[in-house]
Symmetry: C2
Subunit: 201 residues, 2 copies
DNA sequence: TCGGCACTTGACTATTCAGTCAACGAATGT
DNA sequence: ACATTCGTTGACTGAATAGTCAAGTGCCGA
């Protein structure tokens, strides 16, 4: 039905999209196959299990999004502006998803991670890994900001984790309240946590 | 098998415990019944559906825990000490759960809320409601702290939400990393967010 | 003593689930 | 022309799923 290289791709995309919007537990392999216009046999030709698919879908999604994050966190941008651009990026992604499904969907990595952290070790590890990658971006921005004396924060490693977890919490809160406007706080939460001396923009 | 008033209670407790440790999607009604030593018919004598049980289990659990929170957040305690006691309370609960199952389980309300926010409106609403109740405790402490000039924060409503979401994020992060020691940060995250002027122990 | 009521029992249904399989097609290289 | 390889097809399995039901049991009030 679909051309060879497309089938696998389609499954990964559909799986990521559905699991993000719903939850791992409530998305079935049948549902993924139906949406991707792929037969079940083909699914199991490419993937050993639903769990393995999820891990790979999230990894592939990250790799797709990485160029955008590289741009956002480019050392060419002033350090604090990187963080502000990231806020926009996060909010945009949430808004797109919310427009598509009428629901605030929160952070896909955190949602899957929380749901399965105690159940599926590989998914837990992948979620942890992806979180770590994002924190690396933040930390780099913080280090550059500290060097330029733009923030009061000293321990950039701890600060990056703290900013990241604060954002996770805010996204979770917005998801449960199904209210995008709660994400307006993103910038000030981050800047306050970083101890930014001047609140840009 | 069990005495009349016990059956319903047992189901609620077991359900809360299992869903918290695993996830809503991965816990079956059969599993709940088996653990509670209750027949399936009895289950459906008391509850209309798995979803309704979950809502009620979470509400009941909250009511059971409320006295402890009332004690923690008692106006008899100095405002900032309330927040510190709350940190201990949260950490204790997490430690107990982790000892029982070998897994950091995170915030039960947030876990269920994120998993089902886009799927089950009643559960979403209950999760939101319980979050709101906790925030009320925090806000009251912040207001008293502000009155005593213990914190720099002005907008106590926004501050309470911010503290709560920061804690949610930290719990989520600890769950995904399955690492209790990450909760050592609780106090400083809260005190920094509140803008506490002196960092009490 | 009896009738009703709250609860129990466990077998039952119908559906959905993840995962399997053997047969089939279509390129590709030789 | 042929074999091999990669992918497709869709019917199939067996287990698990949420939820039902009719027949019980035991208690409590009249």
């Amino acid at each position: 039905m679909a051309k060879p290289p497309d089938t696998r791709e389609k499954l990964l995309q559909v799986a990521f999209d559905l699991i993000w919007n719903q939850s791992y537990g409530s998305v079935s392999v049948d549902q993924i196959c139906e949406r991707a216009h792929v037969n079940k046999g083909s699914f199991y030709h490419f993937f050993d299990s639903k769990s393995e698919l999820a891990v790979e879908a999230y990894e592939v999604n990250w790799r797709e999004k990485q160029p955008e994050l590289d741009r956002v966190f480019s050392p060419q941008n002033p350090p604090l502006e990187r963080l502000l651009l990231w806020c926009q990026y996060v909010r945009d992604r949430q808004r797109q998803k919310a427009e598509k499904y009428g629901r605030v969907c929160g952070c896909p990595y955190a949602s899957l991670g929380t749901e399965l952290a105690t159940q599926d070790e590989k998914i837990r590890a992948k979620s942890q890994e992806i979180m770590g990658r994002t924190i690396r971006y933040i930390e780099s921005a913080l280090r550059d900001a500290a060097r330029e004396r733009l923030i009061s924060l000293k321990n950039t490693a701890a600060g990056a984790k703290r900013i990241y977890t604060a954002v996770l919490g805010l996204l979770l809160y917005a998801k449960v309240h199904n209210d995008l406007s709660l994400l307006d706080e993103l910038e000030s939460v981050i800047m306050d946590t970083a101890g930014a001396k001047t609140l840009a923009v």
